[in-house]
């Protein structure tokens, strides 16, 4: 199991397009990927668009993300890259 804390840096936050990218990426891995806001116990399935949108993670939100499964290292690296790269949105 890998646990990471990541900050949403892009201006629009985890809005529909960014959420879609995250879900698409997460779904490529076998591992379970669970997200929660740092101050909340509610855990969201990273492969569920409805869940990810429900996180309502705006700019600056800190997320705890847990990866668990055979390809957890690859999954963690890929997700980290996506978020750090501001979902390819530039801002």
């Amino acid at each position: 199991m890998i646990k990471k804390v990541m900050r949403i840096e892009n201006e629009l936050g985890l809005h529909a397009r960014a959420a879609a990218k995250l879900v698409k990426l997460s779904s490529e891995f076998e591992s379970d990927i669970r997200l929660s806001k740092s101050n909340s116990s509610q855990r969201i399935d990273g492969k569920s668009i409805l869940g990810v949108l429900l996180l309502a993670a705006s700019h600056g939100t800190e997320l705890d993300i847990v990866f668990e499964g055979t390809d957890e290292a690859e999954a963690a690296a890929a997700v980290e890259k996506l978020i750090a790269g501001r979902f390819g949105e530039g801002k």
């Binding site: 529909a16 879900v23 399935d45 569920s48 409805l50 949108l53 429900l54 309502a56 705006s58």
Partner: protein
């Protein structure tokens, strides 16, 4: 009626269609595109899961098509919105939870989608961030698409699996949805939101199906499978959750089939104590029921509606031959008595699934009735030709709905005359078909004298006349309190109709709801109307009540009532002077 068992729960609503029935509740839900049921049977789980998966994949495909279209229209930049929709349709948690409910709780796929979606929507509604809150609309889109998809796969009969007699329980039914309800299997209707003059109520009455409406919070009270006793006269529904109704079953079995066949036939004419004959006709739209309607004592069919033909098909395009068959069967079943056929009385919106084109008014103040017919002369000619040909087989007459003035009537009359001239001599009856005006628009009443010179006879549609006169929609909960048959303006219009047509010697058939009401019918008779056309089941009671009256007394009372100006006092006078006991 029967002994009341202690474990019964009794609820009081409004009885909108008379009769009593017992049976198992069948809950259904309605959305814009159709009706669906709430529960499924254990044996259906596999096929229902399959239907659900097919609907998901169909929705996914149609979503992809929309995406391509959107990309073409606005470019790639925005198509991510549809990507989100597509991903919702792939969302493992969402789909998984729905399937779980279908399997574990025997919930219908439509209902399962609705329930899971509602929970999620609730969660979204609680968010503080407006952007994420607004994702609700995207999700609603997906849900609607999915449910429509499910209904598509069941389109023939959304509730077709009804093969035993049930009591249909739900919120409301749209006109278009009624066409897919298998009425032969419905013992009674219990609906939350329908009015006394709604189409559902009117049709329920003409089918003789008891209807109780307006029980608050019903969705939480009645569940599929509950055993119900429905009394459409008293407006009562009793629930026996334990299905222990056996002795009431025996009690009610004789009346539970207050079908059209089981009421004592009363073919004697209806004459008041002082010798005035009142002709009583029946309203129906079902050819196979005409025999029963006559059996109940109708001296003909005063209103044969034709909307059903079109609604069943969901199209205005019905061939002449298809219509001819129906009208001929109707003519032949009349046993030589008169049958008045009303030409199509629909708005375009009602045909297209009840979604009105331009708001509420589209239905009542828009393109409907004769206006729709005149705007589509080919369609109108087809209907007229079919009726004229059928008139060879019985005493048929034609009445035109929504006529607002002389010009409209003359235009329609010309088309009908032309159609008649185009028919070969042997193709139609020996005498020309009588043509009437359905008086329901106040302006037509105001110019009644000129119409009376042109029309052969008149029908009086009180429901619409009242709502147009008072500018108060009878189906609109907020203003329906204004819908008052005893409003002085309404009474004076009715009086004008009776007086004008007596002078011009033209027959008039009153065929709105007023005619079947015990109090109002006496007022109509007192005004001078001599022909009432009512819901078939009301006929025996109506005859009985009018036979106990004296026409001269009613005349005097109506005159006295009409000298009162204040509506509450008018109501009070009417309920006193025309009640069942007072004649």
């Amino acid at each position: 009626m029967g002994r009341k068992r202690p474990d019964w729960k009794e609820f009081k609503g409004q009885g909108l269609s008379a009769g009593m029935a017992t049976g198992h509740a069948f809950r259904m839900e309605t959305i814009s595109s159709g009706i669906f049921r709430i529960r499924i049977d254990e044996s259906e789980v596999e096929s229902e899961i399959e239907r659900f998966r097919k609907a998901v994949s169909d929705s996914h495909k149609s979503c992809l098509k929309d995406k391509a279209r959107l990309e073409k229209a606005v470019g790639r930049e925005l198509s991510y919105i549809i990507d989100a929709h597509l991903m919702m349709l792939e969302d493992p948690n969402f789909l998984g939870e729905i399937e779980k409910r279908i399997i574990d709780k025997l919930t219908s796929p439509e209902q399962a989608v609705r329930e899971v979606a509602d929970e999620l929507l609730q969660a979204y509604a609680e968010l503080e961030d407006d952007y994420f809150k607004d994702r609700v609309s995207d999700f609603e889109d997906v849900v609607e698409r999915l449910i429509s998809g499910l209904l598509q796969l069941n389109i023939e009969h959304p509730v077709k699996d009804i093969d035993k007699d049930i009591i249909l329980v739900g919120q409301s039914l749209k006109l278009s949805q009624l066409a897919s309800v298998p009425f032969d299997h419905i013992r009674a209707l219990v609906l939350e939101k329908v009015g006394n003059t709604s189409h559902v109520a009117i049709i329920a009455r003409s089918y003789g199906v008891p209807l109780v409406a307006g029980i608050e919070n019903m969705r939480n009270l009645i569940h599929s499978g509950d055993y119900l006793y429905v009394d459409g006269d008293a407006g009562i529904v009793r629930i026996s959750p334990n299905h222990e109704f056996t002795d009431i079953d025996a009690d009610v079995s004789s009346v539970s089939k207050v079908g059209l066949d089981s009421i004592a036939s009363d073919r004697e004419s209806c004459v008041t104590l002082d010798g005035r004959e009142i002709k009583i006709l029946g309203n129906t739209e079902i050819v196979s029921e005409v025999g029963a309607v006559l059996g109940l004592g109708a001296e003909g069919v005063g209103l044969f509606r034709t909307e059903y033909l079109y609604l069943k098909k969901g199209s205005l395009d019905i061939s002449e031959e298809e219509q001819f068959q129906v009208y001929r069967d109707f003519a032949e079943s009349l046993e030589g008595k008169v049958g008045i056929i009303r030409t199509l009385d629909l708005s375009f919106g009602e045909l297209k699934g009840g979604e009105f084109l331009a708001g509420d008014e589209g239905a009542v103040l828009g393109l409907r009735g004769i206006r729709l017919s005149l705007s589509r002369p080919e369609m109108f000619r087809t209907q007229v030709r079919a009726i004229l040909r059928a008139s060879k087989f019985g005493d048929l007459r034609v009445v035109l709905p929504m006529i607002s003035g002389l010009e409209e009537f003359l235009e329609a009359k010309k088309i009908i005359t032309d159609v008649a001239a185009s028919l070969a001599p042997g193709e139609t009856g020996s005498s020309p078909v009588k043509l009437g005006v359905l008086l329901e628009v106040p302006s037509a009443v105001m110019v009644l004298q000129s119409l009376a010179r042109e029309a052969d006879f008149f029908s009086l549609g009180t429901n619409d006349l009242i709502q147009y006169t008072l500018a108060a929609g009878r189906l609109n909960d907020e203003v329906s309190y204004l819908y008052n048959p005893l409003h002085p303006a309404v009474l004076s219009l009715l009086r004008k109709v009776a007086d004008t047509l007596r002078e011009s010697g033209k027959e008039v058939v009153v065929c709105g709801e007023m005619a079947s009401d015990e109090t109002y019918s006496k007022i109509l008779v007192g005004m001078g109307f001599q022909c009432l056309s009512v819901a078939p089941l009301a006929i025996p009671r109506l005859k009985e009540s009018l036979r106990l009256t004296r026409f001269e007394d009613l005349q005097v009372k109506v005159k006295e009532m009409m000298s009162i100006e204040n509506p509450p006092e008018i109501r009070e006078y009417a309920s006193r002077a025309f009640s069942a006991k007072e004649n």
